[in-house]
């Protein structure tokens, strides 16, 4: 049995232990959905950071930087700025995303809005989950190829574990798995960054010089590129627009990411929430800065050619660990990445299933009344099972080659286009009403997904030598020139909400404005608005 397999099994053992412990401790809906609101600021902050430092970050972001240099680094920079922007808003008040507002908009609004919000949550979660599952499958298959485990088996295995965590352990188990993983991941990334700098004798000049002369093959041609120079990914004529569009998607999408929002139900009060935000920001920021050291390090030390033939861009981090410190560290870093995937996927599953059980099942199908005690928890467990199974199937369909960091940014673009316009208009526009919210969510969702489908991510003409998963899904020139839909789909989401409101006649909408304003600013009534 290989060393990697042993490290993996050890981690699976620990997390199943946590799940068993949590299942003994949690009773009832508050325990299942919000870990009984017992977490401290530091615990929650580490878990929040863990949610955001996904495998997509650990593997995908480093991979993008290792292949596209500086342009790739714009993903973590945007990701962090977006995080601060969204979090500052929702723990502090001010703009829209905080708990009271969310309860108002997505929980207390009439049924069509809840149903639509639930659909958008499920879509965003599924996007995210596919990204994580693809990473998991590719990673496990590569690491354990001596043990004869294929991509498909690996995806099924990861999916099954995650379903076990969520169905049996609820939020408490999910949170502790996240905390354990976040600590391991920070430790791994820090050690690896120090090893990279040590490789260059702790002289920044040497490090940047090496990153400035990376030799590799591009379309069969040997090239030497400066990886610190912008322009490797985003080129004229649309490069600038695409970059701005990427930024828009990140900044406004993070505010609407459902799996990060539910984390804030798990602490007792606003002060603890703020403390946890401080923890999260320090951890996430340091981690994202390290992705540049790891990515440029991987490009300079391991080289894009070697990475491309040993598992592809998502394997940059583990391969760097192997090159610098041997097989044991490779196994450790791989296990951390694996742990990350499990933890984040579990977190996504719990928010998707919570949203489904609460917003769709209880509120929409049964008009806000639980028919039997405990029904909502049972439905959430069943939904977790369903969502998990769907993600497994899609991840197998997508295949192992997609870059997982990029898939996540698309999820954020969808969140920005569908959720963000509705949140903003609900806060600032007195006339905004139910139909506006429904059309805004629907237009944002459909337009962002549609634009992604006709973008260069899916459409393109490949040479006949390009085979398998690297080929574009649709073999035709892309209709939409940008990879990131945000710059068009966010305004469309706003427009949809605007038109929906103006075309419908709902006289009571204006009088709800003061209620929404006061509730979102003071939190009055918020505690009672949601059952978790």
């Amino acid at each position: 049995m290989s060393m990697s397999l042993l490290v993996f099994l050890a981690f699976i053992g620990i997390t199943l232990g946590i799940t068993y412990w949590a299942s003994k401790r949690s009773r009832g809906a508050t325990a299942y959905f919000a870990a009984s609101r017992q977490l401290t600021g530091a615990q929650n902050g580490i878990a929040v950071a863990g949610d955001y430092m996904s495998a997509a970050a650990f593997l995908g972001l480093v991979g993008i930087i290792a292949f596209q240099g500086y342009d790739g680094f714009l993903f973590p920079v945007g990701g962090f700025v977006a995080y601060v922007f969204a979090r500052a808003n929702d723990t502090g008040e001010a703009v829209p995303t905080m708990k009271g507002t969310l309860d108002m908009i997505f929980v207390r609004r009439p049924r069509p809005v809840k149903a639509m919000a639930s659909v958008s949550t499920l879509t965003i979660c599924t996007f995210y989950m596919i990204a994580q599952m693809v990473g998991a499958g590719a990673l496990v298959a590569l690491l354990l190829k001596d043990s004869g485990i294929s991509y498909r088996t690996a995806v099924v295995g990861v999916g099954t574990l995650m379903i076990v965590y969520v169905v049996f352990g609820g939020m408490l188990a999910t949170t502790w798995v996240q905390i354990v993983k976040a600590i391991l991941m920070m430790a791994g990334a820090t050690v690896l960054s120090i090893l990279v700098l040590a490789h260059f004798h702790f002289r920044p000049g040497e490090f940047f010089a090496a990153a400035g002369h990376v030799a590799y093959h591009n379309n069969g041609q040997a090239v030497v590129k400066d990886f610190l120079q912008p322009g490797l990914r985003y080129k004229p004529p649309y490069g600038t627009l695409d970059l701005v569009s990427l930024g828009l998607g990140l900044v406004f999408g993070t505010a609407g990411l459902p799996h990060i929002l539910v984390r804030f139900y798990t602490v007792p009060d606003a002060k603890t929430a703020r403390k946890s935000v401080m923890w999260a920001m320090v951890l996430i920021g340091s981690f994202f800065i390290m992705t540049s050291i790891l990515g440029l390090g991987a490009a300079a030390i391991v080289g894009p050619d070697y990475i491309a033939t040993h598992g592809g861009n998502n394997m940059s981090t583990p391969l760097l660990a192997q090159r610098l410190a041997g097989d044991l560290f490779f196994a450790f870093i791989s296990a951390v990445a694996f742990a990350t995937i499990l933890a984040v996927v579990a977190g996504l599953t719990i928010s998707a299933s919570t949203s489904f059980a609460h917003d769709f099942w209880t509120s929409t199908v049964h008009k806000g009344v639980e028919r039997h005690p405990g029904e909502e928890v049972r439905v959430a467990r069943m939904a977790a099972f369903g969502v998990g199974a769907a993600a497994i199937a899609i991840a197998i369909g997508v295949g192992p080659a997609a870059n997982v960091g990029f898939l996540t940014t698309l999820a954020q673009a969808v969140a920005a286009s569908a959720n963000f316009p509705v949140i903003v208009l609900a806060m600032f526009w007195r006339r905004f009403n139910t139909w506006g919210a429904v059309t805004g969510l629907a237009v944002g969702l459909v337009s962002s997904l549609g634009l992604i489908l006709v973008s260069p991510s899916f459409m393109g003409v490949d040479a006949s030598s390009v085979s398998g998963a690297a080929r574009h899904v649709i073999q035709a020139r892309a209709w939409f020139p940008l990879e990131n839909p945000g710059i068009v789909s966010i305004p469309l989401g706003f427009l949809g909400a605007l038109v929906g409101t103006l075309l419908s006649d709902e006289p009571a909408a204006g009088s709800k404005f003061n209620e929404l304003l006061v509730r979102s600013q003071t939190g009055l009534g918020a505690e009672k608005a949601a059952s978790y």
């Binding site: 700025v81 985003y234 701005v244 540049s292 003061n514 304003l517 009055l524």
Partner: protein, 114 residues
Amino acid sequence: MPEEIIASQETRAGWDRIAATPEFRGLMTTKKVFIIPVFLFFLVYYFALPLLVGLAPHWMSTKIMGGANRAYVFALSQFVVAWVIAWRYLKAAGKFDRRVQEIVAQADESRGGK
């Protein structure tokens, strides 16, 4: 959880009354004065990065310190700026919270306690 319970907790007139109190309106003004400039600065500073990278890639590629170019140093500065803004913001949010508590206490009182 049935929603009717919440709706009865505060009446329509109740929400309107709280929204009209000088305490609530004062709080909104203080927040706007603090938040809007910070928010605008944040947006401008962040979007300057993709714009400069896209429009002036050669200028951004100039090495300025320790072998790093303008583009990299500017990207790192985004982290520092975001940290500072977040820290200031969270401190201010603590102060806002105390004023919110007063407003909530007042609302409870005028409803005849809970």
